[in-house]
Symmetry: C2
Subunit: 118 residues, 2 copies
């Protein structure tokens, strides 16, 4: 794609023993953390080529184009690597629900703990 | 602690084969994604007991009380589980820098890609 700025090369991503890296997916404007999924080198490249998130499904063992069946595509806004290169942060514009359960984020309604007074 | 509301029990967390779960750490008010680290069952319990993040260091193989040496403590505001229980989201109030490199977040300045026009 022509509308990109690359400051760190994807070759610096450090994949785990399975060849995977966890990806935090965040709604770019609201800051909501939508979900966490996994990419391998191939789906990182597909994500950048297509400008939308493409993951590796660990359960199905296959490429997973987010929203391909649901229409709930995540248009990529930016992709960052963390300090040691073993985690990615994808800022996206989420169409509809991020979660397959139909909720906006995968973290909706599953609170383990909260502080009464911040 | 007395000031807690628990809606899902921590027994529902699904740890991986190493007994670990990834934790996305987010600044509670700004929405910044600060870092991703790992917890085991013991450090989840310590985190809730102490009201601040305690991780499992995979590289050092030991409990890691975030900020113990740097003072850059993450006061826990809430802890959520995702839809399938294999990822946690910790909303915190970060003192100082989240990253050991001195930057506010571990995702600072390591951009792989960005879209020119959102």
């Amino acid at each position: 794609m022509s509308d990109t700025v690359e400051t760190v090369d994807v070759a610096h991503i450090r994949y785990d023993a399975r060849g995977l890296v966890p990806v935090v997916v965040q709604q770019f404007d609201s800051g909501e953390v939508l979900m966490v999924a996994w990419m391998n080198a191939e789906t990182v490249r597909l994500t950048l080529d297509e400008g939308r998130t493409v993951f590796w499904s660990r359960s199905r063992g296959e490429i997973w184009r987010k929203g391909e069946t649901s229409g709930h595509v995540q248009r990529l806004v930016s992709l960052d690597m963390d300090c040691d290169g073993d985690t990615l942060l994808a800022r996206v514009d989420q169409t509809g629900a991020a979660c397959h359960t139909g909720t906006r984020t995968c973290f909706t309604g599953r609170r383990l703990w909260e502080r009464d007074e911040v």
